[in-house]
Amino acid sequence: MTGDTLTEKRILWFFLGSACFIIAQPLLRLPILNYLQQSTDFLLVYTLNPLLIGIAIAFSAGVFEEGFRFLFKQFLLQPAECVFSQPVIFGLGHGIAEALMVLVPAFMVIPVSQLGLATLERVLAVILHVTLTVVVWNGFQKKQRALYLVLAITIHGLVNSLIPVLSPFPDSVILTEGALAAVVVVMVGYTYYSKKYYIPGRNSNEETRI
């Protein structure tokens, strides 16, 4: 495989990551949530159980995003064994697509200088998406796909649950961002540790088994 072909593969992984987010969130989960919010039954249950439903909504993001990451790897990114750069680039595509969807509308109405914390939060979220992609991909490398899928959904759900759980506290934004940063540090450490599960790919020629 030539260097150009390898570059094309990497671009493809990036755009598959972006497509994965777009299908999982704007095309599926968000319309379902919008539909539910039209239902007075749902709003009533949410009013009476805000924490429980907030956590369920948080976990639904994990189910959709990690589920689709899994499906993309299962059906579009074969073989299962791959180089470490594949989940990293796919996760970058996923996270950057989400960051653009969140930040672009905000940049249109609020000056960039006032979006410092939001930008930091998105950077942390992009890193988290990369590490969660590595978790899902680890299942394929270690032949324990369901276990690692459930693990990724759980981590994603717990991180998203920080918002409904911490929002009643004073300084909840700082608390939430601090907890997110702590999780990201741990996940980056785990991701670095996971490199050993992948096909070595120190240079272009060694990545011919992609």
Partner: protein
């Protein structure tokens, strides 16, 4: 034999369905037998009618003492102004009722969520009543 990928995809889809089934309201609380659901719905409709008519005295007559203190003229004027931005009231599209208990006082309430369609936009009212059918809570968005 099925590929493991299909099995896991099936598990994921099932998890998603369970997640949204929970969200859809399978965990709502029953209305206490001290309340009559139809009476609660009629009382909520009445509250929305009084808001549309800007009838402050009528609203206050329905209120608990605490709510009466909270619903000052200024507060009610803000509500009327916001609801007025929706244009002419058309109808109540949907209404759901459930019960809840205040964790501190142990008092039971009936809670109504009503979607009210106006000429320009739709408002969602959350209205709660005591067992004496006194208005104990009023939110809109």
């Amino acid at each position: 034999m099925k590929k493991p990928g299909y099995k896991i995809a099936g598990i994921s889809a099932f998890a998603a369905v369970v997640c949204f089934a929970l969200l859809a309201g399978c965990i709502g609380q029953q209305l206490s037998s001290d309340f009559n659901e139809e009476d609660v719905k009629k009382a909520a409709e009445n509250v929305i009618t009084l808001i549309n008519d800007r009838n402050s005295e009528g609203i206050r007559e329905l209120c608990t003492v605490r709510m009466r203190e909270a619903l000052t003229d200024d507060v009610l004027d803000q509500i009327y102004e916001a609801i007025g931005e929706g244009g002419q009231f058309e109808n109540i599209e949907d209404m759901s009722v459930a019960g809840t208990t205040d964790s501190q006082s142990g008092e039971e309430f009936a809670v109504v969520v009503a979607r009210a369609k106006y000429e320009i936009k739709t408002f969602t009212f959350t209205i709660s009543f005591t067992k004496q059918m006194k208005l104990a809570g009023l939110y809109y968005r």
